[in-house]
Each structure stands twice: as C-alpha cells, then as structure tokens.
Amino acid sequence: MALEHFRIDDRLIHGQVVVGWGQPLGLRFIVLVDDEVAESEWEQELYRMGVPPEMDLFFDSVESAARRLPGYRGDRRSGLLLTGDIPTMERLVAKAPGIDRVTVGGIHHKPGRVARLRYVFLTDDEEQRLRALATSGVRVTAQDVPGASPVPLAELLSGDGTG
C-alpha cells in the first residue's frame, strides 16, 4: 500500500493507468506531477474527468510535489505518482530523496526518438538521463501493464522496439 509506484508516462492519465494499474492495485490516489498542468485549471479538469470518483487526483509542480511527498507517502491508501517525461522525474528525484524505483510506462514516438520497446521510444538525451538516474541509485525498469514482466534498464536500452 501507500505511494509505491513512480511512473513516467507521456499519456499521463489514461486507460492503462486508471484501469490497467488502477484496478489490480486498488489505486485510491494519483499524484500527477507536471509544471504546466499544475498551472492550468482546464488541463486539470480534463484529467479529472478520466478518474473514477473513488480515486483522488492531486496536481503538483515538481517543487510542490517534492514538498508534499512525505505526506503522500504517509497516506495509507495505494497511490501512484506520474510524470509525463524523464526530465520531470529526474528533477523530482533530485529534490525528493528516497525515490528508489522508477518505471517507464510509456514514452511514444516523436521525431528523434528510437524505438526501444513497443511502448518506449527514446532520444539519446533521454537514454543518458535514464542511465544517470540508475547511476544515482534508482532502479529503473520499463513496464506498461501489471501483467508484463519489468524490463531492466540495460535490456530496455538495447531493445529494437519489438519487445
């Protein structure tokens, strides 16, 4: 229970998170960390529509998430923290000690990115950032849905997009 899942997913709140992870884990709260969303009522309302009434959705900037993380960790309900990109998670890890596991849940195709898994496409810079996170002591894996096996970082970075 509590806040155990730290996920990078460019789709943020979507079916895989709310249903795919939400139901088997019994998620009762999600912390969405994104500086732009934290400043936009419209964006927040958009994401609120996507979560069931029994699930709380909290919006934070990196700064406010780092401040509030102890409180989220003290919540006895099952929770998940989301960022939409690697740099945001990287900044959060730097500001909030104790995040020791990060899951790459989905980073999709954009120009400049190379396919590593079906659901993970990375630029050279993003790969470097993931390596740096791992070097700092964070266990980085990729996993889209709960039924899949976590893919270790080395395997992720050597993938060709077919896994």
């Binding site: 979507h14 079916g15 709310v18 996507g50 079906r118």
Partner: protein, 125 residues
C-alpha cells in the same frame, strides 16, 4: 442508404477498426466512419491524427472508447479549439449503428446505454 455525415472512431489498439468493420458488416455503412488507433502514438500525435482525419473526412463527431483514454483526452483537446465538434465517449456498436442509421446523437447514445444488459444464469428472464 447514402449520407454525407461522417464520424471519426478513435481508441485503443484495433477498437476503432473493429467497430468500423462491424458496422460495415451489419449495415454496409462502414464508410461513414474513419478509424484512428492510439497504438504507439504520443498524445500530440493522437491529436494530430484526429485533426487530420476530421479535416479529410469532414466529420463533426468523434466516438471514443474509454472516458479516461488517451484518445478521449486528445479528442477533448481538439474540441476545445473546435466548438462545433462533439465527442462521445464509451461508444458501443449499438450506438454507432443507431447514429449511422439516422438517429440523432442523443438517441444513439441512449440506445448504446440501453443495449447493456446483464443476462445472469441461463440467459436472463
């Protein structure tokens, strides 16, 4: 039946293609729908695909699968800058068929909702 009305159907994996295929098989009206899959696409790319298909088809309606799905979020972002566009979430085959066969959207949505029936035991009463 001929009609100029068109809709985009968008969702996870092959949901949209499956829906369009089913409408075509049942009513011969598959050409009224343009399928868009979210597979492998970043949020911005889903939004771009929707805009492209709306423009190409002239559709003014987007049917999506999950209310919380990435296709729905992208559709709502498109609708924010296109107030004449309508988004229907949780779209089912009965709803699509009803709309394709001439029902107004509220009626088609109601038919979609009414078609969900729990048949317990040996098939219900």
């Amino acid at each position: 039946m001929t009609s100029n009305k068109r809709a985009v159907v968008a969702g996870h994996a092959d949901y949209a293609a499956g829906m369009v295929s089913a409408v075509a098989q049942i009513a011969g009206l598959g050409e009224m729908f343009v399928p868009v899959s979210n597979t492998g696409l970043a949020p911005e790319a889903i939004e771009a695909a929707l805009r492209e298909q709306l423009q190409a088809s002239g559709a003014r309606v987007i049917f999506t699968d999950l209310p919380a799905g990435s296709a729905t979020l992208a559709a709502r972002r498109v609708a924010r800058t296109d107030p004449g566009l309508t988004v229907v979430t949780g779209a089912s085959l009965p709803a699509l068929l009803s709309w394709a066969c001439g029902c107004d959207l509220p009626v088609a949505v109601a038919k979609g909702k009414d078609s969900i029936v729990l048949l317990e035991g040996a098939g219900g009463p």
